[in-house]
Symmetry: D2
Subunit: 357 residues, 4 copies
Amino acid sequence: MATNHGKNLRLTIFGQSHAEAIGMVLEGFPSGFFVDRETLQQFLNRRAPGRNSFSTARKEEDQPRFLAGLVENVTCGTPISAVIFNSDSRSTDYEELCRVPRPGHADYPAFVKYGPAHDVRGGGAFSGRLTAPLCIAGGICLQYLKQNNIFIAARIASIASFRDETSGDLSEWLGICRKEFPVLDDRAGAKMRECIASAKAEGDSVGGIVEASVWGFPAGLGGELYDGLDGKLAAALFAIPGVKGVEFGAGFEASCLRGSENNDLYCYENGTVRTETNRHGGILGGISTGMPITLRVAFKPTPSIAKPQQSVDMYSKETVSFCVKGRHDPCIVPRAVPCVEAALAVELTDSLLDWKG
Amino acid sequence: MATNHGKNLRLTIFGQSHAEAIGMVLEGFPSGFFVDRETLQQFLNRRAPGRNSFSTARKEEDQPRFLAGLVENVTCGTPISAVIFNSDSRSTDYEELCRVPRPGHADYPAFVKYGPAHDVRGGGAFSGRLTAPLCIAGGICLQYLKQNNIFIAARIASIASFRDETSGDLSEWLGICRKEFPVLDDRAGAKMRECIASAKAEGDSVGGIVEASVWGFPAGLGGELYDGLDGKLAAALFAIPGVKGVEFGAGFEASCLRGSENNDLYCYENGTVRTETNRHGGILGGISTGMPITLRVAFKPTPSIAKPQQSVDMYSKETVSFCVKGRHDPCIVPRAVPCVEAALAVELTDSLLDWKG
Amino acid sequence: MATNHGKNLRLTIFGQSHAEAIGMVLEGFPSGFFVDRETLQQFLNRRAPGRNSFSTARKEEDQPRFLAGLVENVTCGTPISAVIFNSDSRSTDYEELCRVPRPGHADYPAFVKYGPAHDVRGGGAFSGRLTAPLCIAGGICLQYLKQNNIFIAARIASIASFRDETSGDLSEWLGICRKEFPVLDDRAGAKMRECIASAKAEGDSVGGIVEASVWGFPAGLGGELYDGLDGKLAAALFAIPGVKGVEFGAGFEASCLRGSENNDLYCYENGTVRTETNRHGGILGGISTGMPITLRVAFKPTPSIAKPQQSVDMYSKETVSFCVKGRHDPCIVPRAVPCVEAALAVELTDSLLDWKG
Amino acid sequence: MATNHGKNLRLTIFGQSHAEAIGMVLEGFPSGFFVDRETLQQFLNRRAPGRNSFSTARKEEDQPRFLAGLVENVTCGTPISAVIFNSDSRSTDYEELCRVPRPGHADYPAFVKYGPAHDVRGGGAFSGRLTAPLCIAGGICLQYLKQNNIFIAARIASIASFRDETSGDLSEWLGICRKEFPVLDDRAGAKMRECIASAKAEGDSVGGIVEASVWGFPAGLGGELYDGLDGKLAAALFAIPGVKGVEFGAGFEASCLRGSENNDLYCYENGTVRTETNRHGGILGGISTGMPITLRVAFKPTPSIAKPQQSVDMYSKETVSFCVKGRHDPCIVPRAVPCVEAALAVELTDSLLDWKG
């Protein structure tokens, strides 16, 4: 289902890249919450295409139209629905795709699943464009979490092998959202931009890693086994197109450590149990510990590249050489940063509602 | 909920380490399937404690007692339930834990969630022992998948920094399950064992990575966004205690590649669409491609170590030095290998049932 | 959640009576199905207001605008979303309701649940208008079921104490949908109309019973206990505003029979197991038997009446006399007939997809 | 799935009549709750077979063995699991059923669903015996609700056409549970008993109606459309074997009333909004109003009767005359009374947990 597994809050996303509209329904959100539409739009602008030279030339206003659930921007308790009408789509770019699946895209497996009726135009329901409704829901949840003193911020941790080494404090992290290129160290950012520009110039693309942190999330949420907060967040993060890996805290590096190196020791800080370090990333045994939740998400390079690639013609069953047409980001990572924040915000709000009742 | 999010097949796991029993209920499994109890027991033995010098000294028979759902070892269509009665538990080892949470364990966040009634004995519901009922369900699903020509195998890919470099073919992978120490290259395995033995000698522990492959899974299962097969598998893998990261195909390394390097090119092989390489790991856009599903799971070092560690006394609110008592594996990775297979088997059977109707 | 509990097919309904729009998202519907828009509109017209003298004077076109999931009226496999924009709403009619809850309506309990932010205008999300999106989804499912030789038809079984005694054969039942007043015996229908007109003239309203039958639904769908087909259908029927009771087959009357009178005896008919009578209503032990599914749904009289009624002012905490303003049906039963068909169609399609895989 | 649709509390029931055991897993129950085992056993005894001359001669102790989730009878927060081992089963009674389905039972549709592997012994998973685990879960929930000043009581409203006319106050209702034959008016009860005895003497059976009331349930729980409290309760009640109809408040009779007769007028009572009458049965628009929840459940006559009946031999495809062997209640209604209470208790606890957070 195109619905998350929320217990209290359930997000359904619909639409295809070239359908009349894309949109979302968010059920279970508390009533009486004022949605700051301007702040929401600023958040959506961080994801919107056409902002800078690294993103697709397709320009969409990405302004949500709220159909239900808000009365004068205040939630009334019933499902919130918002849509974005698709305006600037050029469907002729995609006709060949019905026959020749693009390497690295969902074209082929979607064809197997849905058959010839599958809407391949613009990537259909597999388009990165479907993260816009995710960001509408996530943007509302971010405001709700903030009101509850919970802050989520994400940055580009790396593009190809170029890393944003600085760790940064909370205020620096929260400042990231005002940056066009969301890194802590702008010099590292400059190198990453060069790397993207260079790939673009060669008709190629690059991948990268997004790192996110959550401050203020209360201890005691989540649960053992299939009820784990980490599993829940991971499932939501893998729903973002292009994600190939998710790790929490020290993540894969923890596999190289000894227990005595990896364990975070407990201490008291202002009467609260804390850990002196945070290699566990804020979750132990599937339950939040009250320490910042930290995680990293690996994005593959955009599969749509201008270079000719080998594919197959599914009608003639021949191998063909093939160039992806249309407009595509040479690197999706910068625009993925708010998507990671949004995906986390929806799931963490769902969990928080358990606690707030 | 301690239940997976299965659509057709739903697994509920219950029990605590020192409860009367641990067990599982598996709903939605097809009727008329013969469960080979001997093969199932061999699978469970791969996870069972006390098999070698690296696992906890606690000895349990880990023999499931089937309460319902089977008639003469044939599934009758109604929920399958099996339990393992707990016999060899030494609860006195854990009394201190009510006050002093073990670093790296769920003791503290579970205390916040469940309050003083939480069953801390032996790690309660957070014990690795709860993977035994997972393996009962998974072992049955593995037999079902095998009957459908789908094979799952996992190996230790690394212990600390020691890697099992060999890639191996299907028959080598399937032979892993007969090995006491599940690696492809036994020389690499010998180094890993030394590494574990050395950590144990120092009262310490080590982590590692489990790699799994699935052959024969049909293309076209899974779906976009929250319906993704990768997100579903990831959620189930994070349900295994000690997992800190999950990646598919090239995973985090894909973030360093260019699109032209990472894209897998399509070709025809015996009339079927295949990719020439498999960096995508068998899943694109959340849907299976028919190529082997490949993934890696990072396990942290066992948090229970013999070395003294700093923790806090939650009653006196003081910092205390603390030694974990009880019997613990210096490395959980070898016993985690069948758990990864089991977690995958349950989710892939659930997806396959979509296809078989 | 405003979402049904579908396993394969999930329907989410959103909107309030005076929101910008009402709409639905239908996930899991098979791809490649041609939706006959004209037939769908005819179905929606059966529910639409303003058709005859018994329904509210509010006129809406009730023409769905499909936003996603259809490409040239063929389903593409991804969620289907359709909305109806609200045009003819007169919100000033409802201002008093924030303070004075209408007897028999959801105003008071919704106020307790959602607080003062609750959208009380036009009944908000509790308006019978929300059955329009249900009918969009249901209308599509009815076409799908028909293609699978499954037919659903409902009629008015009674208005107040006036009954449509005739039982009717399949062709008569299927002809009901072409009638303005859906009864088998038009003379009984004339008496019912008089009864409604008489109540309307007195500023009052009347209730009634809708009876539905399903032909061609295969045996073996549903399951024991919480998986029962009857429980699933009942839950969906109670989702229709105004429903107070649901019974299957002989229903409440079965409680007065002896086993020897109530049991339906098995026989063979054209090589198929059938029952000679159908007091069980097509479901035994929660599973379909292949006999027609028959059920009856009790609707209360429209709570909105022109007569003055006693209520309370929730601000001054005083008892007040109160007249419901606005436009209301003196009897919702005629318009409820297609809603019952729609609610059944959605659930039965969900179950059928289990079978078709 | 044999699991309810609980949001906070999820009940899974497993077992077949002649399996090794029947049992349940209850997830999401709050931690730290003391389960009074003696009170629980008294509740289970109300449902247990062999209590009086109207119930099956099969004697089972029906004493639950708790496997997990309780530590010294206090819930520890993780799933509660309890089983009842089956001891007194005579499987030879049922061999014929593999070929000849019993009229009025699930034998035939279950055979279609599950195929020849279906466990037909003793009715398998469709046996009324599966209400014992329901009552374990329900009995725990009843204690929890009582601690929250919510009381559920059910009575026999009628057996065949013999009615318990008295309405009764709360204390009389709560006294019902101490009666061997749960009616308010014992003279009416005497007639009902005669009616049952007479049916039994003739090798026949009778049906009846159970009426339930819930006091103290807070206003504002439930929701519109598919989130309705009435739909949720109805789904759970239809999960009890033998139920053919469910109605709330005035129920089917409301369909004969005018709006001015059926609407319950609001008033203030001790500062709280109440209705002067309760024809709505405590739920409006799917949400609780704070008035007692009242409902009636129709049970069909036990399908197992001693009289010869016509059925079919599914192997020879011939019509056969057939006598149901084994031990069966001439009327299931008396034992169904605690089952109705249990089914309601589980669902209402689930809803209450929304409110308590």
